[in-house]
């Protein structure tokens, strides 16, 4: 936007120019693939004269007769200079920019050229996104951004991810960054109703995984994603900036003819990325013999040979179709896109269907003084989920059934019915068949903005956005499924609803000016109001009359005849307190000779969440940059194209705590009861993170090597913390601002290189690595235990500690010391600190190798220096289950452990999590234009999660099953999670 302002300014100047001798130069600007580029900027080098190209990419410019060069620039392309000393008609082909310094970086409420940026921002363009199977936009970035850790919480397509920018900033749940889509901040929650089949429902499955809040963004619509990391770039978001910001910018139409882009992609699951090793059928039989379990009255050998882990998976063909129409002219542009996809999960019967439509437009009025921008996204998703819960107790979940299933027991009986539970392990295929859990969510995101140029350099912009989602979830567990307590012979069902509505009003004024010949300034002032509402309701029922035995099943789900249930819990409704945030903010940028830059921002945030005594918080930041390469002494150094030193300081906030936490609340309990539910804390306020960042951007050898280096130090104070309530109290916890310090410090380094680049062959590679150290200091409270270990024999055990002078969530476990003579585990009496679940190193590698029309891109990433607790081995596949006819971990072969050894939580199950994962490899053949109409035809084949190198024995070292205790988050616990598949994709895309 600012760029356009600058350009219109240039137009005006152009009118004032009165030069003696002039001549006219005409030309055409095209892209690498020959498409005309509309709206490209053409200026005379050394002067402020300029024009823009028309819809057909042509331009005509009057230049002084002695003009030597034109400079042509276009968003997303390398700026190019062309010699006109002896030409009056030129054709300029612009190369798409790589990590070019002319890139535009989207920051809060505006954009800035990368080389003018004082903050630490990593910008990823569409062409650099991860390829392959992408269910939600955050996966586009995995491994691409230094210091950005994205962990899939579950292998279920569409499941939530845990995203951390520069470490663990908080000791609460809700640590994800703020997402901003085309200027609209998201709530971060979803309208998919959560489900807890825990104690309240009489079942033992616990909570189910959350859904991804970005599901409704079509990954093909994203033009670029900017990850705002330091305070200079995040402080403009004030009390929501502390966890970093992910700014998503969607594609816009371009001037020129109407273009149709079409793409399709097919994918198939191709087995486990890393299969959990339980005993094979042969090993199982041998083990029964070894432990004298082959002589029991009730034989544990049922004579068959099955692989339950394989049997629960599917390789059905997923498909995705996307279509985008775009076009426009100088006064109006539009882009319409549709996405229809059916994405089959790795577990049978699980899937994610998405139907997304997006209509974006930009229209100019009043001689381009007024610009109206709008964007409407309508989405519908259907998630089919499996019985894979986070906190299942001794009853387990589908994954534990598959792990434990006796490999000698057939899944079906002779009359082709599902066989009953074997050794109290429910038949996993029966569970898949009889469990139906479907969430339908409709989302509408709409925003409209109007930008009015008031005078030269001054622009006013108004934005209104609404984001509304409504979800319904029907869950039905048939009573014919054998072996599940509270289900078998009874049947259970739940119907739940949720809604989420957020609104944003933003008013901003921007002003650009040159103060002196060398000093320019742009300034921003704004007011924003944001409001969000969330509510849900759920109804459980059990004791149905139908589908209680397999033979007489009817094809009607319990949720379709809910009233048939004998027991229905009352409808439980919950409406979250409305959250309102009212903000005033401003930013000013100074640029002195393109050598010295200074940015200052401030935001005042008032939030209804804060206590009565602390309604407003103030979040300042300053950033400075020295573009050393623009100094005369470096201009002569040819190998250095760009060298910029950045430094920033600032304060950001975090207000992710439950709305209403500062107030005394009385809530309705069941059965004619009302009681106080919360302790008031009128002093409650935001959590504050002070961050210092020093960074260096570099670009060498004609920009063929580029990258950056950053050091940061973050101190979080006034930590929002669920403190132990001072009993007697209405609840066991209440929120305070803890006077402790949570420190994250680290370094990030990224390097990219264009190793070879010519018309036949090109080779690009990039690598990033980040180190973070996390430490909680001055924590005067007693240690807080969290990370509940689940399962039979381990209930009530917590594996991690939040404690002083330790990283958050450090493992605190009893030391395992081998086995004694009886084969019992030797376990220390008292727990000790055992290791950090937070990775110390994160790294990513990407490369693209092109030979003529064939290109291969590979993307790998990894993490090291952290531990994972294998709760699955601990309580599901431990040795003692063998005698009960359950399959167990293959490591029991040759183990000195007594088969009757008691099960205990200890450091024995703590494993190193270090891994390197080949996320994706894609081979593309670029046919280019085909015939008269088909353009840019690309055909590709690729694989995702192709392999992982790790010593971790679970399904996936990238694991974060939510095992929070009273809201204190856990980290890196593996517990019978939805496994990660290898995925093969192929498809093509083209434009017309």
């Amino acid at each position: 936007m600012r760029k356009k302002l600058l350009l219109s300014g240039l137009f005006m100047l152009f009118c004032l120019l009165t030069m003696a001798q002039q001549r006219t130069v005409t030309g055409t600007v095209i892209s690498k693939d020959g498409a005309p580029l509309a709206d490209a900027s053409v200026i005379v080098v050394g002067q402020k004269t300029g024009v823009r190209t028309g819809a057909d990419g042509t331009f005509s410019i009057n230049v002084p007769s002695d003009a030597k060069q034109l400079q042509i620039s276009y968003v997303g392309s390398e700026t190019q200079k062309v010699d006109i000393s002896s030409a009056s008609n030129v054709t300029v082909t612009l190369q798409a920019s790589s990590q070019s310094l002319t890139d535009v970086v989207i920051i809060g409420y505006g954009s800035v050229r990368k080389k003018d940026l004082t903050g630490a921002v990593t910008s990823i363009k569409a062409k650099d996104f991860n390829q392959g199977s992408i269910a939600s936009p955050d996966q586009l970035l995995q491994g691409k951004v230094s210091g950005l850790e994205i962990t899939n919480n579950s292998g279920q397509p569409g499941a939530a991810t845990t995203i951390k920018i520069r470490g663990n900033n908080s000791i609460r749940a809700g640590n994800n960054p703020l997402y901003v889509i085309d200027g609209v901040p998201l709530d971060g929650r979803t309208a998919k109703p959560g489900l807890n089949f825990g104690s309240g429902s009489g079942l033992d499955f616990g909570t189910t995984p959350e859904s991804n809040p970005l599901l409704y963004i079509n990954p093909n619509d994203i033009a670029q994603v900017d990850v705002l990391k330091d305070a200079s770039s995040t402080a403009i978001y004030g009390s929501r900036g502390a966890n970093g910001i992910i700014v998503i910018t969607t594609k816009r139409g371009t001037s020129g003819g109407t273009k149709i882009e079409f793409g399709t992609k097919f994918a198939s699951n191709a087995g486990y990325m890393h299969k959990y090793k339980v005993l094979s059928t042969d090993q199982f039989r041998t083990a029964l013999h070894t432990y004298s379990l082959d002589t029991l009255t009730n034989s544990l050998d049922h004579g068959g040979d099955v692989d339950a882990l394989k049997a629960i998976t599917q390789s059905s063909l997923s498909q995705e179709y996307s279509l985008a129409l775009s076009g426009g002219n100088e006064t109006g542009k539009f882009r319409v896109s549709f996405l229809g996809s059916q994405n089959f999960g790795f577990i049978k019967k699980t899937s994610l269907d998405k139907y997304l439509g997006n209509f974006a437009g930009e229209y100019n009025f009043l001689d381009k003084r007024l610009t109206i921008n709008f964007d409407v996204i309508a989405g519908h998703t259907t998630e089919n989920m499996g019985l894979v819960s986070n906190t299942a107790g001794a009853g387990g979940n589908l994954i534990s059934y598959a792990l434990n299933w006796n490999p000698t027991a057939a899944f079906t009986t002779s009359n082709s019915l599902y066989s009953k539970a074997v050794s109290s392990v429910p038949n996993p295929l029966a569970v898949i068949n009889g469990y139906n859990d479907v969430a339908n969510v409709n989302v509408f995101l709409g925003n409209i903005s109007a930008a009015l140029k008031l005078t030269k350099g001054l622009e006013y912009k108004f934005l209104y956005a609404i984001n509304h989602g409504a979800g319904k979830r029907n869950t039905s567990i048939d009573g014919w499924i054998d072996g599940i307590n509270g289900v078998s012979g009874i049947g259970d069902a739940a119907i739940s609803d949720a809604y989420l509505t957020s609104e944003t009003f933003t008013n901003t004024l921007t002003y650009n000016t040159t103060l002196t010949q060398n000093l320019s300034m742009d300034a921003l002032a704004g007011y924003e109001y944001w409001k969000t509402n969330y509510g849900n309701s759920s109804l459980f029922a059990s004791q149905f009359n139908t589908n209680l035995d397999q033979q007489s099943r009817i094809p009607i789900l319990y949720t379709s005849l809910f009233q048939n249930a004998k027991t229905q819990t009352p409808l439980v409704t919950f409406v979250d307190p409305t959250t309102e945030i009212q903000s005033y903010f401003g930013r000013v940028n100074f640029n002195l000779s393109s050598k010295y830059y200074l940015t200052g921002t401030i935001r005042a945030d008032g939030s209804s969440k804060f206590g009565a005594n602390n309604k407003y918080g103030y979040f300042p930041s300053v950033g400075a940059k020295w573009n050393i390469s623009n100094e005369n002494f470096l201009k002569s150094v040819i190998i250095i194209n760009n060298l910029g030193l950045r430094a920033s300081w600032g304060i950001t906030g975090n207000q992710e705590f439950p709305a209403g936490a500062s107030q005394e609340q009385f809530n309705s309990g069941s059965y004619s009861s009302f009681g106080q539910s919360n302790v008031a804390n009128p002093d409650l306020k935001w959590e504050k993170t002070t961050q210092v960042n020093i960074g260096l951007d570099y670009s060498l050898l004609k920009n063929r090597i580029y990258g950056s280096f950053d050091y940061y130090h973050k101190t979080t104070t006034d930590i929002l913390f669920q403190s132990t309530a001072i009993q007697p109290a209405p609840a066991s916890i209440f929120f305070i601002n803890l006077p402790a310090h949570l420190i994250n410090s680290g370094v990030e380094f990224s390097i990219g290189a264009t190793i070879v680049s010519n018309s036949n062959l090109s080779w690009d590679a990039s690598f990033n690595i980040a180190h973070n150290k996390n430490l909680l200091k001055d924590f005067a409270q007693a240690n807080i235990a969290t990370a509940q270990v689940s399962g039979q024999g381990v209930s009530g055990t917590l594996a991690q500690i939040i404690g002083n002078n330790e990283p958050v969530n450090v493992f605190y476990l009893k030391q395992f010391g081998g086995f004694d003579q009886k084969g019992q585990q030797i376990i220390a009496d008292q727990p000790t600190f055992q290791g950090d679940p937070n990775p110390h190193l994160l790294y990513g590698f990407a490369t693209t190798l092109r030979y003529n029309k064939l290109s291969l891109s590979v993307n790998a990433s990894g993490a090291s220096g952290f531990y994972i607790y294998n709760n699955t081995f601990n309580s599901v596949t431990n040795i003692s289950n063998l005698q009960n006819g359950k399959n167990v971990d293959a490591s029991i072969i040759g183990s000195p452990e007594n088969i009757n050894a008691s099960v205990a939580v200890s450091s024995r199950y703590l494993e190193k999590g270090d891994y390197v994962k080949l996320r994706n490899a894609t081979l593309t053949w670029a046919f280019g234009d085909l015939g008269k109409y088909v353009k840019n035809l690309n055909v590709f084949v690729g694989g995702s999660n192709l392999f992982v190198i790790t010593k971790f024995t679970g399904f996936d070292p990238e694991v974060n099953v939510d095992k929070n205790q009273n809201g204190y988050p856990s980290r890196n616990i593996e517990y019978i999670p939805y496994p990660t598949p290898r995925i093969v994709t192929f498809g093509f895309n083209l434009s017309l």
Binding site: G489, I490, T578, I726, P730, A731, G793
Partner: protein, 550 residues
């Protein structure tokens, strides 16, 4: 020129900000909860009753689930054990730590859970007093608070008390020692005149308050000196007077069948003085009473749900079984009246005919309703025995069988067995029962300055007669050299009140808590009281960590 531009910018900026400022005062709309003012206005007089109901709802679960107060009061004693059975029941070693009294200041998770849940009752009851209660409502609330304070004092040796309307961010006063006992006594004495004489056993009533008062007087000497309790004659006389008043009111009588007091129909029990109610088939406000049998019976005990019909955990030991002075085997017929009813092993209609499960202490081979023998999960016969591993880590072939099971509450098989589990069982949870009144009077008579042992024996034998047990000829309070000695009042209290959350208190009051007994060696003074959870200590500096846990 640029400065003037900047100046021009101001009006627009001002307009923006002024327009914006009008938007909101940022008062949080709570939507589904109420602020205190709203609660006071909206709920009105009826609201106080709603708040009182919340306090009542707090009572049920801590007393109904064996994993709560019962675990602290019984597993630490001589009548209950939860052995680790290979892959099951390790649970971070907490059951062994409680049984062997080896837990340290970090305790086990149960300790903080009970501290919090009892204090929630304490809070919710106190809160009623801030909402203009009627005299009767105030008395009920103060009774419920007294109950929580008594239990906290018993477990932790101290308790915090808030005044209605206190700022919850401030640390409240903490009572300990004699002042703690006196506070409860004064509270109860003050409210008894306002409590209805008959209010149903699911509501606070004068008899329940008097019974709690008896417990205060009887235990005062133990609360003040747990290692070596002494008993003041005046306190004993109070116990006798209060108890006699209840006895002579003739409102209560012994049930013909001991287990009727714990059946799904026990709401009509004539022994119940205070209980937490449940309704068969109704999940709302169910206290989770099914855990009383679920925690003890074997995985295969109830055929339709096998192998998941129980958790196969809580058990008891031979010494306790033998304290019933076994002179024969229960004949296991409905008509059998030869032995002390309370040992059980007998047919119970609606239970044995449905499942094969029998009453009371389950020992030896177990049978289904059709007479077939129950087998364990490996297919071996299920024979409940007492051959525990001394370290409580069972590894032998009997690991599923070891332990006599205690079926005190009769499972609810109504609704075709649907109420057996899942939180819809209808048994009321007995918190105060009439026989305890009788036994407390007997004990006070023996502890009085002028001991009336004969009077005590008469009362006890009266109870024994009602239970079908032979009269005792002589009865000591306790045998310090043999805690399991059957001819003592302590043993009689065990036989009558086992698994009713009083055993640890009894063992301390009778001065034998540090003695060795089955599966527990002699122990020191530390575990006479539980540690204050460290997080609670950090939150309230008025709490003081108990001796031995510092």
């Amino acid at each position: 020129m640029n400065l003037s531009k900047l100046i021009k910018l101001y009006p627009v900026l001002l307009i923006t900000i002024v327009v914006g400022s009008g938007c909101t005062k940022l008062d949080q709309n709570l939507n589904s909860t109420l602020t205190k003012d709203q609660a006071t206005n909206a709920l009105g007089a009826n609201g106080t009753q709603l708040l009182l109901q919340t306090a009542y709802n707090d009572v049920g679960n801590p007393y109904s689930d064996p994993g709560n107060i019962l675990a602290l009061e019984e597993v630490t004693g001589d009548e209950t054990v939860v052995p680790t059975r290979a892959g099951d029941w390790d649970d971070n070693g907490k059951w062994r730590a409680l049984k062997q009294q080896t837990f340290g200041p970090d305790g086990v998770d149960l300790i903080i859970n009970q501290f919090n849940s009892l204090n929630k009752l304490n809070f919710d009851a106190t809160n009623v007093l801030a909402f203009a209660p009627s005299k009767g409502q105030a008395a009920e609330a103060r009774f419920l608070r007294a109950l929580s304070l008594y239990q906290l004092l018993d477990l932790f040796g101290q308790y915090p008390v808030r005044n209605p309307g206190d700022n919850l961010l401030n640390a409240p006063n903490v009572y300990r020692g004699d002042s703690a006992v006196n506070f409860i006594i004064n509270e109860l004495t003050a409210i008894i005149p306002d409590l209805p004489a008959t209010n149903g056993m699911d509501k606070a009533n004068a008899d329940a308050a008097n019974m709690l008062l008896m417990r205060c007087y009887l235990n005062r000497g133990a609360f003040n000196n747990r290692a070596a309790p002494t008993f003041d004659d005046a306190d004993m006389q109070k116990v006798i007077t209060l108890g006699n008043a209840i006895i002579s009111s003739k409102k209560y009588s012994y049930s013909a069948n001991y287990f009727d007091n714990f059946s799904p129909n026990n709401s009509s029990s004539k022994e119940g003085i205070f209980a937490a109610p449940n309704t068969s088939g109704v999940a709302t406000n169910n206290t989770g009473i099914h855990n009383m049998w679920w925690a003890t019976v074997h995985y295969n005990s109830y055929k339709p749900l096998a192998p998941q019909s129980g958790w196969n955990g809580f058990s008891t030991v031979a010494d306790f079984y033998n304290s019933f002075d076994i002179k024969g085997t229960p004949t296991q017929t409905p008509a059998d009246t030869a032995l002390d009813q309370r040992i059980g092993g007998r047919y119970y209609k609606g239970v044995t005919d449905v499942s094969g499960l029998r009453t009371g202490l389950l020992i030896g081979q177990q049978y289904y309703a059709d007479g077939s023998k129950v087998k364990d999960r490996k297919g071996n016969l299920l024979i409940f025995g007492t051959n525990f591993s001394p370290d409580l880590k069972e590894t032998g072939t009997n690991l599923e069988d070891v332990g006599i099971r205690v079926l005190k509450y009769m499972p609810d098989f109504s609704g075709n067995g649907k109420n057996y589990g899942g939180g819809t069982s209808g048994n009321w949870c007995m918190i105060f029962r009439y026989p305890d009144v009788v036994l407390m009077v007997a004990e006070a008579k023996m502890r009085a300055a002028a001991a009336d042992n004969a009077g005590a024996l008469t009362l006890v034998n009266g109870l024994r007669a009602a239970r079908g047990a032979a009269p005792m000829t002589a009865m000591a309070l306790v045998n310090p050299n043999n805690v399991a000695d059957p001819n003592t009042l302590l043993a009689e209290r065990g036989r009558e009140l086992y698994w009713e959350t009083v055993r640890r208190t009894d063992l301390i009051r009778f001065g034998v808590f540090m003695k060795p007994w089955a599966l527990k060696p002699a122990s020191d003074e530390t575990h006479l009281v539980f540690p204050i959870p460290s997080t609670a200590l950090a939150a309230n500096p008025n709490l003081i960590q108990n001796k031995g846990y510092q």
